[in-house]
């Protein structure tokens, strides 16, 4: 069982070129911020490394930070071997919210990434089937963005209550 600090040190050793950052706020555990371009390689090491063995992805969530003009993705990993957990955050610019998919590493990410795309418009490059999942295919906008404006009508039906 490793703490987040130890995992961060370990990752810095493995990826000397990559800029990692530790995040800690008033509440909640420490998290690791990873640059978007490196997420796939880092995820692969997190899963396959003997010392880490994060064999399941518990959750993948999209986030929107309008103040910073950024979108975010939060990954929550768990290792059933060692019992340690890890929270990884990635930020991408609002104007071009693109990052590599991790669907090939943890299959469960397939639907979670589709949901993040549907709700936030985050594009996961390399995803085999990036379609909307909860909203209809021809829905306009991404509902969970903070600046979302709901469309007035959908196929001739009003969407708002009177």
């Amino acid at each position: 069982m490793k703490s987040t600090e130890e995992i961060l040190e370990y990752l810095i050793d493995r990826f000397p070129e990559t800029e990692f950052q530790s995040l800690k706020e008033d509440v909640g555990p420490m998290r690791i911020k990873v640059p978007a371009s490196a997420i796939k390689d880092v995820a692969k090491v997190l899963r396959d490394d003997d010392q880490l063995q994060f064999n399941t992805l518990m959750c993948l969530s999209g986030l929107h930070y309008p103040k910073e003009e950024e979108m975010g993705v939060a990954y929550h990993l768990c290792s059933t071997h060692f019992g340690h957990n890890l929270a990884v955050n990635v930020r991408v610019p609002e104007v071009k919210p693109e990052l590599p998919t991790i669907e090939q590493i943890w299959k469960t990410a397939n639907w979670h990434e589709r949901e993040a795309y549907d709700m936030f418009g985050i594009i996961f490059t390399g995803h085999p089937d990036l379609r909307r999942i909860l909203c209809p295919d021809d829905w306009e906008g991404h509902p969970l963005r903070k600046d979302y404006v709901q469309q007035e009508t959908y196929r001739g039906v009003t969407t708002k209550e009177n």
Binding site: E25, D26, V27, G28, P29, R31, N55, T56, L57, M58, C59, S61, G62, L63, A74, H76, T80, G83, N85, A87, W106, K107, T108, N110, W111, M119, R132, I133, L134, C135, P136, P143, L144, Y148
Partner: protein, 379 residues
């Protein structure tokens, strides 16, 4: 002269839709099936018919506590467990101490809800495969639990009973006697269920060796709860990432063993649920014994919740598996973001992987055995 088609290599593929109004899809789920005769070549689940954007609602509440009734409506057959997960997440963020009595009542109702949820899941599973009688027997038992919940909270399905730091109200005076009575009458019913359904020849034929899920695949797909345990992995968040007061109780984690077929088949997942009900009864009994009589269940409820900055992911063991709440606070009384990691959503995503190559009748068994609730899938 009639010309017979002799070319046996000619195969025709057909796409059909199963649902969204199909009795065995457990709600409004549409499965797009690509068939070769009766063999499934590909499944594409289409979800979202019950989508209410719970997460958007939550961001518009001016109080964290106002989200609790919405959590009920996600997995509407195990509302207590949904509330339990949410209040635990908030209590961890607020570092709130919860009175011992509250914890005991929560555990008792959560375990009763687990039994009620499994009764529905098992009953509907049998129903999918043509066994009508067990469904009625199980519903009689579920009714007894709902009666107790009605006395406790005033509602039978969506309770809004748990509050951050406490409970909405104290239990009624006969609560302990009611629950003890239920435990006593329910235990022999599990044996009855085994005779009626578990080892029924037709039921075994329909579920053994069907929809086999190897444990490695299960983990990669993020499976949890009875689905993961059905594949033989001893993993229960009540023990492995313990919360509330579950560490005070002694209970076992039933896992699949391939008793009548192959490890990780539909029957194993079913059987894990049945055996789990026995363990829940054990937990309830222990909690009844150690539950303090005195105590105010509302004393620790904060008047107003103001969350500091930060994010937290909390998970609890719901009847369907790992129920996670990812909550982001931003120094205000309104949640910045709440994401729910619903076990049914994750389990449904692996349906294409485990049903490829099976018969069309088997997909009914597979969907039934992963026990999905569409309210939770679509949120």
């Amino acid at each position: 002269m009639i010309e017979l088609i002799t070319d046996t290599d000619e195969r025709r593929e057909m796409t059909i839709n199963m649902g969204p109004q199909h009795p065995s899809t457990h709600g409004v789920l549409r499965l797009e099936l690509l068939l070769d005769g009766e063999i499934i070549k590909k499944v594409k689940p289409h979800i979202g018919y019950l989508h209410r954007c719970f997460e958007k609602y939550a961001e518009e509440m001016d109080d964290y506590a106002k989200v609790i009734p919405y959590t009920d409506r996600m997995d509407y057959v195990s509302a207590m467990n949904q509330e339990h997960g949410y209040v635990i997440a908030l209590e961890r963020m607020l570092e709130l101490e919860v009175p011992d009595k509250v914890e005991h009542i929560r555990v008792i109702v959560a375990e009763m809800q687990r039994i009620a949820s499994h009764l529905l899941g098992i009953g509907a599973f049998g129903l999918d495969l043509g066994a009508f009688t067990p469904f009625l027997y199980l519903f009689t038992e579920r009714e007894k639990i709902l009666d107790i919940f009605e006395k406790v909270s005033g509602a039978r399905l969506l309770y809004n009973y748990m509050a951050v730091g406490g409970l909405m109200r104290d239990v009624h005076p006969e609560f302990k006697a009611d629950v003890a009575d239920f435990v006593k009458t329910f235990r022999p019913k599990i044996k009855e269920l085994d005779d009626l359904l578990s080892y029924n020849k037709i039921f075994v034929k329909r579920t053994a060796n069907i929809g086999i899920l190897p444990v490695k695949v299960a983990l990669n797909y993020g499976a949890s709860g009875p689905v993961l345990r059905g594949s033989g992995m001893k993993w229960d968040l009540r023990k492995n990432d313990t919360y509330s007061i579950y560490n005070q109780f002694e209970f076992d984690i039933p896992v699949g063993s391939g008793e009548v077929g192959t490890l990780g088949d539909c029957w194993d997942r079913y059987n894990v649920r049945v055996r789990e009900m026995e363990q829940s009864l054990l937990i309830i009994e222990q909690a009844l014994d150690s539950m303090p009589e005195e105590g105010d269940v509302m004393e620790a409820i904060p008047r107003r919740i103001r969350m500091k900055e930060g994010e937290i992911y909390t998970r609890t063991e719901s009847p369907r598996g790992e129920l996670g709440y990812f909550i982001v606070g931003d120094n205000s009384a309104t949640p910045y973001r709440i994401k729910v990691r619903a076990p049914s959503f994750v389990h449904l995503s692996m349906l294409p992987a485990i049903s490829k190559g099976s018969l069309i009748a088997d997909i009914v068994a597979i969907v039934g055995s992963i026990d999905i609730v569409l309210g939770e899938v679509d949120r």
